[in-house]
Symmetry: C2
Subunit: 477 residues, 2 copies
């Protein structure tokens, strides 16, 4: 175990290294793919649980569609195939034989799902229809980074069909709100809602909504998307229904997804020089109990007492573990669990045992005097519950404060461009809507992350004609 790279000066290396040292991932023999180890997967499982509950509340039911899709299906939606062709993994051999029609490993499932919707939707009574799939997808990326961009990733993809465009737009917004809510309330990661410009839109969508995050290095991360597909896919796949008045109509469709990239967002947003910091509501382990002893006899009485504390906390719904490992010292345990970002540590030594108290340690407090608190055993449960909730809200407000400090109101690209190029950050500015003005930000390695709802900037960042909307410009992951 070597020292972590400096998180301030060497963020990218810190990220790669902390993922491996904290056993979140490991490299794999398949190029561009990595292994999600149990500690990383447990975080993803917690995200899944929270998201799955909310997706069911949206009225979507889970289902499963084939991994392998006939290549011709992708070709039925012209923009879609154009967008995804360069990223496809293609199965050409099956059972030892060359296939007549190659099969594509799904990069997303619109094509196969809308071909099924064509069978399932015949009457207005079949609408709205909402399904969700938890699945793996493959996109042939050349430059990869764990969780952020990899050949294979895990996600959920929701797909819905509606009678009216208004209903579909409402669905798109409700899904987007679920993503924003999970990011902010569960993962303590601030999420900025917006709309993608045409050039950044999902291949085949009418419009793409997104939540964007700003990582500590000042680069933006697209954290989830929600697409109004409207008639594109349903028309390509012949989805039609008989409306109440007898006429045949095409439903308005939506799709929306959130991926294992969320794990990367959590780790980048909260990590520090000691390692990961897990937001309590998603933390695989919320509290770790560590006995501090010299003799075997001390160890045995301390472990007995701490096992009692463990049960008390566990009964209160806290994900807690007792690290009674005999082979490592308390110091090594502190290091181990700090690296893994467990939000609360509870220590107990012989003196604490004698006075029936514990020492509660806050992973994110930097003030030494406030980092540790002696708490009477009888108060431990209430104190820990309260501390977990404080840490959760502090993580969000810290992340918000940091994001605000890197969020600039800007007018002319010529003025803010050099700063973007050198120091990254998020630049809110005006845009006239023309593609060439959007493309101008590339000069400084920027992209337009999204169009915002609020409209404060009156002139275009590039051509100086009237601005139609505010946009956010940043370098992107």
């Amino acid at each position: 175990m070597s020292k972590l790279p400096d998180i301030r000066t060497n963020f990218a290396e810190w990220y790669q290294e902390v993922l491996v040292q904290a056993e979140v991932i490991d490299a794999s023999p398949t190029r561009g793919c990595f292994v999600i180890r149990p500690y990383g997967y447990a975080l993803w499982e917690n995200i899944q649980k929270e998201l799955d509950k909310r997706i069911k509340e949206l009225g979507a039911q889970n289902a499963y569609f084939p991994l392998l899709i006939p290549k011709s299906f992708l070709e039925r939606e012209a923009k879609h195939v154009e967008g995804f062709s360069p990223e496809l993994a293609v199965v050409t051999i099956g059972g030892g034989k060359q296939l007549e029609e190659p099969l594509v490993v799904r990069p997303t499932s619109e094509t196969i799902i809308y071909s099924m919707f064509a069978r399932w939707i015949t009457s207005w009574r079949d609408l709205p229809l909402a399904v969700n799939q938890w699945a793996n997808v493959v996109r042939w990326e050349m430059r990869t980074r764990p969780f952020v961009r990899s050949l294979e990733f895990l996600w959920q993809e929701g797909h819905t069909a509606h009678r009216t465009r208004e209903e579909a737009v409402e669905m798109v917004m409700r899904a987007l709100n679920v993503y924003k809510e999970v990011y902010e309330n569960i993962l303590a990661v601030p999420a900025i809602p917006g709309i993608k410009t045409e050039s950044e839109r999902f291949a085949g969508a009418d419009s793409t909504y997104c939540v964007e995050g700003l990582m500590p290095d000042g680069k933006a991360l697209q954290m989830a998307t929600s697409h109004l597909l409207a008639h594109s896919f349903p028309e390509s796949f012949d989805v039609r229904y008989q409306d109440a008045d007898g006429s045949m109509r095409v439903p308005y469709c939506t799709s929306w997804g959130m991926t294992t990239r969320s794990v990367g967002a959590v780790i980048m947003t909260h990590g520090d020089e000691q390692g990961l910091v897990m937001p309590p509501l998603a933390a695989p382990v919320q509290v770790v109990l560590i006995p501090i002893y010299k003799t075997a006899e001390e160890r045995s009485t301390l472990c007995e007492k701490l096992e009692q504390v463990r049960r008390e906390l566990s009964d209160a719904g806290i994900r807690v573990m007792l690290d009674a490992n005999e082979a490592t010292t308390p110091g090594a345990k502190f290091f181990h669990w700090e690296l893994r970002g467990v939000p609360v540590r509870v220590e107990m030594g012989p003196k604490d045992l004698a006075s029936d108290q514990v020492v509660v340690v806050n992973r994110i407090e930097r003030d030494k005097a406030q980092k540790k608190t002696m708490v009477a055993h009888g108060q431990a449960k209430a104190f820990v519950l309260n501390l977990l909730s404080t840490i959760q809200s502090n993580l969000l407000s810290n992340a918000r404060t940091r994001m605000q400090s890197q969020w600039y109101q800007a007018e002319k690209l010529a003025e803010f461009g050099p700063q973007l190029d050198q120091n990254n950050g998020l630049y809110q500015t005006g845009w006239c809507g023309k593609a060439e003005c959007e493309a101008s930000v590339k000069t400084y390695k920027g992209t337009v992350r999204c169009i915002l709802q609020e409209h404060n900037h009156k002139t275009c960042l590039h051509c100086s004609s009237a601005s139609k909307s505010d946009i956010l410009v940043a370098k992107a992951y």
Copy 2:
């Protein structure tokens, strides 16, 4: 919706048809793959929940490994590649380019997982190591049947490494017991534990344990397997650790899996001429409430009252829904939910409302006089809970009785072979252990399903020399 094929005379057609009519699956445009629709997927989710809990209790932690595996990895375990080569789907094109080394879509993950174990296991302190993966796998099957055999299926695969062979054998047996327990106690499907003969062993395993089921048509279904890999894969992938005494050793490994085939086992085991029958502990919907009304006013008061009943049952942890659909008649609703196998139906009409009672209907009771029970509203919750538990245990005992009626003690293949050929069934007989005697059962389309622990039959079914063990012979899915 057409009438279901006769389940007694036409079991295979009944199975295919009930799956589609009850909206468990639908055909997909990918050959040999099907779509798991929400009602089918909900059953799988319930199986997953029960299994996942028990797998965690076994000490295994969930993780995720890449879908695509370099082809050379499969070739490192000679028997493994020989067994799986004919079944592989191979990606030869990625990102528009021919790949230098083709990637195999995982048919199982031993090769990639043991290559990771080689990195993670260095000391005896790293053992035991136990990981589990929930994933999709692809095997290029030619003749497919939904859930039973398809190109792609969903499963969990557990992989463990141990210091001693005894510990590994114990793990294999504990996993097997979890499968037997989930099949019997949750899915009400009797599971016969046994050991596979060499010819039916997992490619690369030292020994393969299994649980076998007997479907109503008298064909056996392999329902889960647990393999003692011992040193095969660890040696091929160079997994070595330093033992406490300083010596370098190879760990003993196991792998074990249960798949979406379990959904097929449930449907085949319990279904009847009216459709599916869901065992209560795994049923997506355990209780459906149906108002029986003539006027809009009746409908409104009945729905109000039934919504109260719904809340009461739901608060008791019952998966309950109120079918208040205005567009369908009560009769159509009965048909709809009987087809889907909901174990308990609760009806309420205006007269029931007046006397504050409900009519509780048992999906599996064939005696008309006992099928329906009037229950006072105040007793409904207790009555329904009790009925669900009765149905659960009756389903298991009915299935056991049926299995026993098709389980024959047999001596000479020449005598029982014609019956096997004509009427299927499970034949317990003796075996000397020779491959040619095992192969002899093929004459009657049989296979040796497993070797049993008990040993009653003294002579070999074929050569008449001394029997080494009892085996079960049956036709297999």
